[in-house]
């Protein structure tokens, strides 16, 4: 049977609420991230732009994922396309730092990446959910090979600096014990008839059976040390072969320890739609997608072009840009239409001939503060010593994440971890530091989880997104209020200009937001262009 809100028995929601209350928090079944919009991608396959008016032209500002999606499709539809890009490379935030790369942040501090061959860090996006079909389809079209990204690794850690003596706990142990204890409590309540008002007699036995199954409870509906429980949380002595084969079960930890530790919060890390298996990453780094787009559009992209003015009149759009290789040298580009993907903090500063609604929307969206730190170690100790192959450790320390490379397992040699992925106030604090200080901090915090850090550390890279010269922030942060006031205005055409990018989506911070916003924008552009007819 199914519990649902129309049945005479317990509603599914009230049952879950009860479990939450029993376990100490009614919030655990809500999305863990206050920001988690689990919106599906509306991507429905390649866009069809038939009948582009001959001679129509489009200027695309920004060679990131959104801009290059627009450029490829418009080019294929027969538009004359030109792309202006501030950086000297394609991709924007789709970006991978590898050995030999140099990165100069705002303020002038330059880092030289000294990672070994094939090792990298993705300062921007690093994972693609399977249902982000737009960006995945472009990866396929552009011949970028993908491999699995592990969101959840049962052998990685959940860590609280204030619980278990600061010792990190294996995900599988916290998950099995938390689930098992909650199942036992609920079974107890069921058997004591405390749920009679909510569960019919017929459902009662089924509920108990399901709890036994879900929580690995014994025949008496207890969660206790035995083979079945160890088969989930791991063994004190693992089963093996020969005379020394007999396993010894491990001892579950008490529910009170898990509840007070707060580590239960990490158990649902992979339950959100955006984080559910399968996720993917490009082989060789996320930047492979941007690089492939860049090759495809090579003849259309003008690099080192800093846009300084965007003007439009009844006939055309005129963009003035400066060649950053020869400052002061201003040039102009014109087209019938403009798809502008320039990040809003930058666009807000560029003289732009648009009406008040769009201008107000552009100024209304601050960008998230975020910092990522990549750390190269002399050996892959997380694999060699701790048997962690890919996935993520979560911690209450400011670094929040340790991301293990989802590739190159058992290879020997050096390895690069994502040593920090920092948000909010802590990100501002990290941004305020020099890069080497950020790295030192990431090492200091990470050492609490992996004591091998100090001896094995080799070198690192630290990217603070508010110091990024090409975005001035990580991604657009909408509130419910600002979306209600400005979102539609941000996405609407203003005469010949339309915006695209993750900021013009409900998939904020995801590449899929860039892809789908670009396709939506050029669909509308095409309608307008067709309606206007062929150029004289």
């Amino acid at each position: 049977m199914e519990f649902d809100s129309t049945s005479s028995g317990v509603s599914r929601r009230s049952l879950l609420r009860m479990i939450g209350t029993v376990a100490g928090s009614a919030t655990m079944y809500q999305a863990m991230s206050s920001l988690g919009f689990a919106a599906d991608s509306p991507y429905q396959g390649p866009i069809d732009l038939k009948g582009a008016p001959r001679g129509s032209s489009v200027l695309v500002l920004g060679a990131g994922v959104a801009g290059m999606t627009a450029a490829i499709e418009l080019r294929d539809a027969g538009y004359q396309v030109q792309v202006l890009e501030y950086n000297s490379r394609a991709g924007g935030r789709n970006w991978t730092l590898r050995g030999g790369d140099r990165y100069t942040e705002l303020g002038g501090l330059t880092q030289e990446c000294r990672f070994d061959k094939d090792l990298y860090i993705n300062p921007g996006p690093w994972r693609i959910p399977y249902h982000h079909r737009g960006i995945l389809s472009y990866a396929k079209r552009l011949g970028v090979p993908l491999e699995p990204f592990f969101q959840v690794n049962y052998n990685a850690y959940l860590h609280s600096s204030k619980a278990f003596g600061g010792k990190p706990q294996r995900f599988r142990e916290i998950k099995a014990d938390y689930q098992g204890h909650v199942a036992e409590l609920l079974a107890k309540a069921t058997r004591q008839n405390e749920l009679d008002a909510a569960v019919s007699t017929e459902d009662r036995e089924k509920l108990l059976e399901s709890l036994r199954h879900w929580g690995a409870l014994d025949k008496d509906l207890r969660y206790t040390a035995n083979d079945a429980v160890s088969a989930r949380r791991g063994w004190k002595k693992k089963p093996s072969g020969g005379l020394s084969a007999r396993p010894i079960p491990s001892e579950p930890m008490g529910l009170e320890h898990i509840l007070s530790s707060g580590l239960w919060e990490g158990v649902s890390a992979g339950d959100e739609y955006d984080m559910q298996t399968s996720l993917f990453q490009p082989v060789g780094g996320m930047g492979r997608i941007g690089e492939a787009f860049g090759r495809e559009l090579a003849s259309l992209i003008r690099y080192n072009a800093k846009v300084v003015d965007i003007h439009q009149d009844e006939k055309q759009v005129t963009v003035t840009y400066e060649d950053s290789q020869s400052p002061g040298a201003m040039q102009k580009a014109t087209a019938d239409w403009c798809v502008c993907t320039i990040p809003l903090p930058i666009l807000a500063q560029i003289p732009l001939k648009v009406g008040t609604p769009l201008a107000s929307a552009i100024a209304a969206v601050p960008y998230a503060s975020a910092v990522k730190v990549g750390l190269q170690f002399k050996r892959r100790f997380w694999e060699e010593d701790e048997h962690i192959y890919g996935g993520i450790t979560y911690t209450d320390l400011p670094i929040t994440n340790i991301g293990y490379p989802n590739t190159g397992y058992f290879r020997g040699g050096k390895g690069v971890l994502l040593g920090a992925y920092i948000w909010g106030l802590n990100a501002m604090e990290f941004t305020s530091m020099a890069p080497e200080e950020r790295i030192a901090k990431a090492l200091e915090y990470g050492s609490q989880i992996h004591p091998q850090y100090p001896t094995e550390f080799d070198n690192g890279m630290a990217v603070a997104w508010h110091r990024s010269p090409f975005t001035m922030g990580c991604f657009g942060m909408w509130s419910t209020a600002s979306r209600a006031a400005h979102y539609d205005d941000l996405c609407r055409f203003d005469n010949r200009i339309v915006l695209a990018g993750e900021h013009a989506s409900f998939l904020g911070g995801w590449q899929e937001g860039g892809v789908t916003s670009a396709l939506d924008a050029i669909g509308r552009l095409h309608e307008r262009a067709v309606a206007q007819g062929e150029k004289a």
């Binding site: 991230s33 988690g36 800093k306 320039i342 500063q349 503060s369 209450d396 501002m428 941004t431 609490q448």
Partner: protein, 158 residues
Amino acid sequence: MSRCTTMPRFAGFTIAGALAALALFGMAAVRADDSAFTSKAGLDAQSGSAIYGNICQGCHMPQGQGAVGAGHYPALAGDPKLISWEYAALTVLGGRNGMPSFALPPNQADETRAVHLSDAQIAEVVNYVRQHFGNHYKQRITADQVAALPHPAPEPAP
């Protein structure tokens, strides 16, 4: 940059540990107010220099010199607009051209991972900026003066 689920954060910081880590790089010193790593959206630090050094200088830079890339962070050093303390305080309160508000009501602050500063903290950091980086505006403002300025409105009930 895809959204991650994060856990509550707590300060786990020790000066000794920081010095040991920094020694790896041969760096001479830690920042003046290094204990500011906090668990909350609010910054514990109360002094103008600590607030500036932990938040503002991320964009406006350590000497208030600002920076230029595809866009720019305005220099605060010698900024003539700072003659108006109201201008400075209103900018911190409401944000400006991509700079976030530091006084959002709690529900909006949570949604956007914004940082909330008290009126007293805003007064302190405005005073700091107006008296450093070559700025010499003598008048110090108080929390009450900041409180009298318009603050971002609470979100209307849905």
